[in-house]
Symmetry: C2
Subunit: 369 residues, 2 copies
Amino acid sequence: MSSGYLYDCRVEAKGKARVGIRDVARAAGVSPTTVSHSLSGKGRLPESTRERIARVAEELGYRPNASARNLVAGKTGLLGIAISESPESPFGLSDFDYFMQLLTAATTTAVEKGMALVVAGMGQGEEFFGGVDVDGLIVVDPVVGDQLVAANLRRGVPVVTTGRVPGETRPDDETYWVDNDHRRGTMSILDHLHERGGRKVALITTLPITSYTADDIEGYETWCEAHSQEPMLTVVEGPIDEGAGFAAAAELLDGPDPPDAIYATLDRLALGTLAAARSRGIGVPTDLIVAGCTDSKAGEWADPPLTALALNPEEIGRQVVEMLIALVQGDDPVERHQLVPTAILPRESTARVVSGQTPRMEDPHDEDS
Amino acid sequence: MSSGYLYDCRVEAKGKARVGIRDVARAAGVSPTTVSHSLSGKGRLPESTRERIARVAEELGYRPNASARNLVAGKTGLLGIAISESPESPFGLSDFDYFMQLLTAATTTAVEKGMALVVAGMGQGEEFFGGVDVDGLIVVDPVVGDQLVAANLRRGVPVVTTGRVPGETRPDDETYWVDNDHRRGTMSILDHLHERGGRKVALITTLPITSYTADDIEGYETWCEAHSQEPMLTVVEGPIDEGAGFAAAAELLDGPDPPDAIYATLDRLALGTLAAARSRGIGVPTDLIVAGCTDSKAGEWADPPLTALALNPEEIGRQVVEMLIALVQGDDPVERHQLVPTAILPRESTARVVSGQTPRMEDPHDEDS
DNA sequence: GCAATTTGAAAAAACGTTTTTGTGTGACGG
DNA sequence: CCGTCACACAAAAACGTTTTTTCAAATTGC
């Protein structure tokens, strides 16, 4: 049953147990207590002993048992991260690029601070983490009717969200979130479209089940009012992908009063919009200018390269973890809200020459490293 | 310090402790042992008692402490997942879509089986998981010179890789992996290009630091030999993205003897190839046909939609977790290798009309749900 | 009707740490 | 020379489970 190979990695029933704190103590000729103190730097020990024990521990390859440590600490050292889902939009995660960037930054930040990130399964019920406990939870883009946030708070698990919980009824200062300044971002990209000659600016977006969609719509309507423009709003239902963007854009472009500029609140919708324009022989940016929210490689390399409102997911991931760790560790006071700035990345899809104005055309692929 | 709000989620110093097994025992009028047996179904108990205790536990909202449970079990219930990196190609992860699909499937499978997945940080050193221990490790696309696999095996942590470890010196039956059948896949897509009229088929790929790249190159060379074609191979160095694909394709297309078909071993390279063709006025699929490895939404919605060799990352994620869990639990025997089939998704980028042959043109967006 | 067996449940040990409390030794001051 | 104190370390308790052992009561067999 058990092969003799050096590296066979099956669990060996009778292998010698891992080296524990007792083994280190025995080897160093001290008590387990002393080893613990020595390694944690807590007790009163002379440097000499501390060093000697550290050396012995190193030699033996001692690695403290996480479960035992967590048991006495009452923590697990784990943070959970979950993507919010709603019955109305299963597989709400429409933007892999965005989430991966956020996840990578979050993981790195967490590991730097000695914690690990576990990702939630898509299962229903309360067991999202396969029976392990998390010290805190990150919920990405909570949707209306999300159960995760409330359920975990009720159980005393600190929660920080990315984007705000829509329809939040709790006082503002009881919620913890990191979010983009979507209002301002929407304004700025609409202004950008206007600068580039957009006079009938349409919005393609999704059902307002996340706070950012609601913000975008609100921002758009405010902006339209300020610019005396009739809102042209198309809301996508069902799965949010290029096909949905295509359909929404087709509806706008084939209508009686087609827009000359389109802002789509997700880059995949914007890519679908480009495809729709292409299929109708509408030139971008000559006849129509297009911009999308969320930057991505796909947008950067689309034809034409897509102007984007960058959301800086790395920064969001970093900050959300920092806030959650502060919360978990009981640091007080914790800054409850963080606004991460957005940035416009102007590319060819909005590089229309406006009379008496030179378009700032930059290298469309300026982010290559 | 402590606000009185209902949901304040800061850690309360003097909050009432979590309900433990003792609380349940007291409430049910039995001993902790009985509760444990009752809930795990291990001891000898009458149904009546079992039900009663289950009810009490439910009422009190009892959730067993994971650390304590893990401590006695000697496991953590955690599986790690890491993306391999090499000094030569930092941030080796070039395909977010692919990894996210794999990760999602892996997570769901793990959670279904009562385990959780923690993602490794990008840090150097041995602390990839912020001090927590994992019962097993998944390494995605190990690169040449990878330390992670060997280091963890040495520590007795079971490892399963996605793709094989390149330059593996251990006997084949000591390694555990899930992989696509890249040889066969490469053959089939090259055949596809040939069918569609490709007579000078070039390959754009990366340094052979992963097993799949090595397989692809080997498959390509074998295929060329069988088709009496001189290999036209361009190897991309540095970051693997659309820009690299653009540059590689440009080199081929601007050369003295440009190819009439290009296969790129990553869809981002293929998208760059499309951009290069576009920038040179080379029509796809009329003058050049292009296919990429790995399917993605970006490829599906590119102009023209990109023919892809689909790798089925969901299946890989599912199988890798199942294999690792079997390994961790000491199930014996464990099937050591799994080959996941690939599939060609023919789209417009290879839809060239070949004389005397009708191209099988399918709906380019056939995967919309 | 008494020993043997089965049943139901409790007591106790174990898991590997950290933290709290305890203790023997030498130095120092009075 | 004795008491006090700091020091260096050890012993013991605690964390919340699971697992093993023990034990009393109920049931069975003859």
